[in-house]
Amino acid sequence: MANKLSVTPIGGPPSDVEHIKSESNYLRGALVETLQNPITGGLPEDDNRLLKFHGSYMQDDRDLRNERERQKLEPAYQFMLRVVAPGGVATSAQWLEMDRLAQLYGNGTLRITTRQAFQMHGVLKWNLKKTIKSINDSLMTTLAACGDVNRNVMSNPNPYQSDVHGEVYEWARRISDHLSPRTPAYHEIWLDGEKVVDSLADQPEVEPIYGPVYLPRKFKIGLAVPPSNDVDVFSQDLGFIAIIEDNKLVGFNVTVGGGMGMTHGDTNTYPQLGRVIGFCKPEQLIDVAEKTVTIQRDYGNRSVRKNARFKYTIDRHGIEWFTEELYDRLGWQLEAARDFYFEHNGDRYGWIKGSNGRWNLTLYVQSGRIHDQEGYELMTGLREIAKIHTGDFRLTPNQNLIIANITTAKKRKIMELAQQYGLTDGAHHSALRRSSLSCVALPTCGLAMAEAERYLPLLLDKLELVIDEAGLRDKEIVIRMTGCPNGCARPALGEISFIGKSPGKYNMYLGAGFTGDRLNKIYRENIGEDEILSLLTPMLHHYAKERQSGEHFGDFVIRAGYVKAVTSGLNFHNV
C-alpha cells in the first residue's frame, strides 16, 4: 500500500476466506472447471466463496434436505443470483428480461431485496452461465452483488422530488461503477471473454482499489434524501445524506461505521449505527467513498470474519482516528455537517405526481416477492405493464416497487392494468403490515435458523386482530423479521423485531427509532408465537391508550419502561 499505516492493524492469522481469495487469481479459482463438473449440482466450498463475488450463492432447498439425504441424492443445490441495480432502477426492458429469466431458469419468482437489488432463486448450475450472460446482455450485472466488495449502492427512489432523485441516483450509479471490481475473471467465466491470465503477473494494478484480496468483508453504501430515511442510512458502512437547500442538491453529510449483523451469543458482535462525521460536496463524493473503502481494506480484521466489518474497525480505533486517516488519504478535510431532518424510513404508497410532471405508482409487495398467486397475479400484471411502460421501475429499500416516470399518456392504461390485475398499494392492509420487512430465510437461505418470509405474513394476520381491536390500524409501526442475526432485513432498526434462533423461536427486540436513528434492544429471548402474542397484545393496547400525541411505538416502549434506549451499538448487549 502506498500509505504508511497510522495504527497497527489487528493481527492474527488470515482466515480461510483470505487464503481462498489470495489464491484465487482475482476471483477465478477453479470455477470454470467446477461449474462444468456434471456429477454434482453444487460447487466446492472454495469456489462457492469466490462465486459470491460474481453475484451468486450456492443454496439448496432446505425443505428437502433431509428427505434427499435419505434418498441418496445430494441436496437440491441451486443458485441464487443477485443483480446489481444502483438505486434500484431498472428499465422496462430490463424488467421483462428478469421476468423471462426467472420463468426460464429460476423458480418463477423474483425478489426485491432490502438493498434494492433483484434476486432470482432456484437457478441450476448448468443454467448459471446462460442466465448471467443474458443479464449482461440487458446491460445489468451480477458482479459484486455479493462478496467482500462494495455492494449494491442504495439511494432514495423518492418520487416527490424527482430532480434531486435523479441527481442522487446518478451519484449512486457512479459510486457503484467506481467501486466495481476490475478483474477480467467475470468476463472470462461468464461472458466467454478472452482469457488474460498470463499477463496478470505483470499487472499488479488489476484491482487498483481492492488489491488481490479485496476487502475483509462486505461493504455497504447508501444515499438518503431527507425527509425519507428509507435506505436506513445509519445502517450503512458508509452513508450519505443529501443536503438540499432551495430545492438544490448542495452536497452530502457523511456517516460511517453502521452495520446490522451480529452473531447470537457473541457480545463482541453487535449492530451499530453510523455516525455523521462531516459534509462534502457532490463532486467530492467518489473520493470520500474510495478512500473510506481503502481504509477498511488496510485496517479491517482479516483474521476473524465476524469482526471484520467496517463498524468494528471504527470502534476499535475510534472515530477521530478514522477522520484523521481519511483526511490524510483525501488530502483535504470535510466541512462541518449540515442540518437535516428525517421523518420516517418507510415507503409512501399509491399514485404520486413528481416535480417533472410524471406519475409514480408505489405498489406494496409483501416481503418483496414478485410472483403469481391464486387470485393475485402480481408477476403477470407487472409484465403486462412493463410491455407498455416507457418510464422505469424502482425497487425500494423496503422491498416495494415503484412504477416510475409514467407519462400522462400511459397513465390511464397503466391504471387500468393495475386495476385489472389487482395490483395494490396495500391500502387494505394495516399500516403495520405495510411497514413490515423480512428476509428470505427458509427454504433457500443457508444461514436461516427460523422462518421469515414465509412466517411473518401469518404472524401479521394474528397481530392485525390485536391492532384492530386497539384501534391502531392506521398507525405505522416498523416491524421486521429475519431468520438469522446477519441482518438482511435490518432488524436492529425495527420498532418491533424478531431474529430467528431455531425453528419457531425468535429473539424479540423493541424500541428502535421510527426514522432509523436508534437501535432496538432485546426484550425476550427464544420465544414462540404464543409468547409473542401474549407479550405484544397488552403492550399494543397500552400504547393505544397511553401514547402521547405523535409518539411512535419505538419511543413509547422506552418511555413506558419495557426496554432501555440503546445509544450505541457498544451498549446494545448491556442490561
Partner: protein, 616 residues
C-alpha cells in the same frame, strides 16, 4: 399347461377332451407314475409316441427306441442370459454323472463348434430373449449352426430343453431353432424338446427324467421307468441354502425408500432386506427373485366381474394345496398377463362365441394385438357371458412367477443383507390404470418390518473379473446401475486396485440420479475412478449413455486395450443395442478397424467374458 387340441397334439377331439379334463387334476407323483407307465408301454410297443403330461411337448415325436447301445459320453451345452439354463445344466450333468456318464459341460460360446462332429450325445439347454433372440453366450453357436460351415450330424443324438415365457410372441424360439436345425443337419432326437414357461420346475424335471430314461433304454433296453421316479423327486434348485426358487425365504424389509427426488415423474425403490438366518449368499452380478402379490383392486374387480365368492376354496397348485380364491389370486396365480394358451383354455368357460372366433387361425394378428397389454379383467369383461366355476377356472392360470432384480449390494460389504432396485411401473392402456405386479407391490404395499418371499438367482454370466486389478467399464442407465453398486462395494471391501469407469444416465439430474451420493463418495475415495452421466431431459437435445461412450472414445479404447471388462445392464430393446453399436464404433474408429473386424473384436471380448450383459 398346454390345452391339448387336435391342432397341437396327435389326439382326436374326444381324446383331447378327456385328457384335458384328466391332466390338470393329476398330482405330480401321479403324473410321474403315468409317465413311467406310458414309457414302459412305449418300450414294449416301439411305434407309440412318448407322452409326458406336465411339459409342453413339442410336436415332433421322439425317435423310435430300438437302437444299438450307445456311448456314455454326453456333451451338455447351455445358452444362458440370467443363469437359469446354466444352473439347470449343472444339475443335469450331476445326475448324468451319478448314472455313470462322462459329461462335458460348457456354455455354447466356450464350445469349439468344430468339435461338434465328434459329439455323439448332445443335450442343449437354452433360453430365448426379447423377440426370439438367443442369449449372448448362445449367439455365435446359433449363427454357426445356421451357417454353411455347419457339419452334417448324422451320428448325433440330441435333445433340447427350451426356456421361455408364453406371454412373448416368439415363445422358446431359440430352443425351437436349435431343435429344428439339429434335425435338419441329420441329428436324431433322443427325447422330444420340452418348452418351458416361467414356471419351469416341473417340466424341467420331466425333461431330465425323460432324457435319462432314454439313455437308459438305449444302454439297457430292459430298464423301466421306476428308477426315474427317484430322479424327479427333487426339482433342481439352490443348493447352498435350504431356501430356493421353490422354497423362498421370507426376508424382512429393513429399508424401502424412493430414490427419485420430489418432482420426478419416476419412482424407483431401493429396498434393503435381511438375510439373517437364511444361509443365503450371493456374488455381485447375481439376481434376487422376488415373489410379489397381485394388486388387491385388480383381484376384487376380477372376482366381481366373474361373480365369484372370494372365500370359495380353490386349488393353489397341482399338489393339492387349497385355500380361498382371494388368496389364490393374490399369491399364486398370474392375472396380469394374457397368453394364447390361456385364451385357448378359457374358451371352454365362455358361453359366447367371440373368444372362439378370435382364436381361429386366420385371426392370429388380431389375437396378438388383443393379448398385448391386456389382463384377466379385460378377458372377463370382453368375452362374457361366462360359465366359469372359480375352482376349475383358476387351474388354467399360470403360476404367479417371481420377478428377478439385479442385486445392488455386495454381500461382503453388507453381510446378511441384500439390496435391490426396482422402478415402479405404472401406465394407462386400454382405458385403465395398469400396475407392474412386483414393482408396485414393493412401492406401495410393503414397509420396513414386512417380509418378501425371495431367493437368490446366480448369474455366472455377469461377474467381476477374477483379478481385482483388471479395469472395469460399467454401463448402466436407470435401474441398470444397480449391479454396479454391488460391483463397486465388493471391490472396495476387497481392496481391489483396478480402475473403474461408470456410465450412468436417466431423465433429470436433480431428481433421477440414482445412488448419487454413493457414487460421489466412491469417486472421492477412489473406489470409482471415472463417472460419466447423461440426463436426457435436461437439455434440448436428448443425450444418452451411448453418446458419452462416443465422446470418450479415445480413452475408452485405451481402457479396452488395457484389458478392461465391459458390463452392460438395463434396457435390452434400445439401450443395450445402442451401446453395442456405440462400442463397435469406438473400436472401429480408435482401432482403425473395419466394421467386421470391430465386431470380431467385441465378439472376442465376449468369448473371453470381457463383455458381459445383464439386459432385460
Amino acid at each position: 399347461m398346454l390345452q391339448l387340441q387336435v391342432t397341437n397334439s396327435p389326439f382326436t377331439p374326444e381324446q383331447a377332451e378327456l385328457l384335458n379334463r384328466l391332466l390338470p387334476t393329476l398330482t405330480p407323483s401321479q403324473q410321474i407314475w403315468l409317465s413311467g407307465y406310458l414309457s414302459a408301454l412305449q418300450a414294449a410297443v416301439p411305434t407309440t409316441a412318448v407322452l409326458s403330461s406336465a411339459p409342453v411337448l413339442a410336436e415332433e415325436s421322439a425317435t423310435p427306441v430300438s437302437q444299438p447301445a450307445i456311448s456314455r459320453e454326453v456333451t451338455v451345452l447351455f445358452g444362458s442370459q440370467t443363469g437359469n439354463c446354466q444352473r439347470l445344466a449343472g444339475s443335469l450333468s450331476r445326475k448324468l454323472e451319478e448314472q455313470g456318464f462322462q459329461v462335458t459341460q460348457s456354455s455354447m460360446n466356450s464350445f469349439k463348434p468344430n468339435g461338434l462332429k465328434k459329439v455323439e450325445n448332445l443335450l442343449i439347454l437354452v433360453s430365448t430373449h426379447g423377440e426370439g433372440d438367443p442369449p449372448d453366450n448362445a449367439r455365435a453357436f446359433h449363427e454357426f449352426l445356421y451357417s454353411k460351415r455347419a457339419p452334417g450330424l448324422e451320428h448325433l443324438r440330441f435333445s433340447v430343453l427350451a426356456l421361455g415365457d408364453t406371454s412373448y410372441e416368439f415363445f422358446c424360439q431359440t430352443g425351437k431353432d436349435f431343435d429344428q436345425r439339429l434335425e435338419e443337419l441329420g441329428g436324431q432326437r433322443l427325447y422330444p424338446r420340452v418348452d418351458c414357461d416361467l414356471d419351469y420346475d416341473e417340466p424341467v424335471a420331466e425333461w431330465i427324467e425323460g432324457v435319462l430314461q432314454s439313455f437308459q433304454e438305449r444302454l439297457n433296453p430292459s430298464a423301466i421307468a421306476t428308477e426315474a421316479v427317484k430322479a424327479a423327486d427333487k426339482a433342481p434348485g439352490q443348493e447352498t441354502s435350504e431356501y430356493s426358487r421353490s422354497n423362498p425365504f421370507q426376508a424382512e424389509i429393513l429399508e424401502n425408500i424412493n430414490l427419485n427426488g420430489r418432482g420426478s415423474d419416476r419412482e424407483t425403490r431401493h429396498l434393503e432386506l435381511s438375510l439373517a438366518g437364511s444361509n443365503l449368499q450371493f456374488e455381485p452380478g447375481d439376481s434376487l427373485g422376488v415373489y410379489p402379490e397381485n394388486h388387491p383392486q385388480l383381484i376384487d374387480e376380477i372376482i366381481a366381474a366373474f361373480g365369484w365368492n372370494p372365500e370359495e376354496k380353490v386349488p393353489f397348485n397341482k399338489k393339492g394345496d387349497e385355500g380361498s380364491l382371494l388368496d389364490a389370486l393374490k399369491y399364486h396365480y398370474e392375472i396380469t398377463v394374457l397368453t394364447k394358451p390361456l385364451l385357448e383354455q378359457a374358451v371352454q368357460f365362455s358361453n359366447g362365441s367371440q373368444l372362439q372366433e378370435l382364436l381361429s387361425p386366420d385371426r392370429q394378428q388380431e389375437l396378438k394385438e388383443y393379448i398385448h397389454g391386456r389382463d384377466l379383467l379385460d378377458l372377463v369383461q370382453d368375452f362374457g357371458p361366462w360359465q366359469a366355476p372359480a375352482r376349475s377356472f383358476v387351474t388354467i392360470l399360470r403360476k404367479l412367477p417371481a420377478r428377478l432384480y439385479s442385486i445392488a449390494s455386495s454381500y461382503n460389504a453388507n453381510p446378511d443383507e441384500v439390496h435391490f432396485t426396482v422402478r415402479a411401473v405404472r401406465y394407462q392402456i386400454h382405458g385403465r390404470d395398469r400396475y407392474g405386479v412386483c414393482s408396485v407391490h414393493c412401492a406401495e404395499r410393503v414397509q420396513p418390518g414386512d417380509t418378501l418371499p425371495i431367493y437368490i438367482q446366480n448369474n455366472p454370466n455377469f461377474k467381476l473379473p477374477a483379478s481385482g486389478d483388471a479395469p472395469i467399464i460399467m454401463i448402466g442407465p436407470g435401474t441398470g446401475v444397480a449391479p454396479f453398486r454391488s460391483f463397486l462395494e465388493e471391490r472396495e471391501e476387497l481392496g481391489a486396485e483396478g480402475k473403474s469407469w461408470l456410465f450412468y444416465g436417466d431423465r433429470h439430474f436433480v431428481t433421477d440420479f440414482l445412488y448419487q451420493t454413493d457414487w460421489q463418495r466412491m469417486l472421492k475415495d477412489g473406489v470409482l475412478t471415472k463417472l460419466d452421466v447423461a440426463f436426457s431431459r435436461d437439455t434440448e437435445e436428448k443425450v444418452y449413455v451411448q453418446h458419452r461412450l462416443l465422446e470418450k472414445s479415445r480413452e475408452l479404447y485405451q481402457w479396452l486395450q488395457e484389458g478392461a471388462h465391459v458390463y452392460v445392464c438395463g434396457d435390452e430393446k434400445h439401450m443395450a443395442h445402442d451401446v453395442h453399436t456405440a462400442l463397435i464404433t469406438v473400436i472401429q474408429q480408435e482401432g482403425g478397424l473395419s466394421p467386421e473386424d470391430a465386431g470380431a473384436y467385441l465378439e472376442q471380448m465376449q468369448q473371453e467374458q470381457r463383455y458381459q450383459r445383464d439386459v432385460y
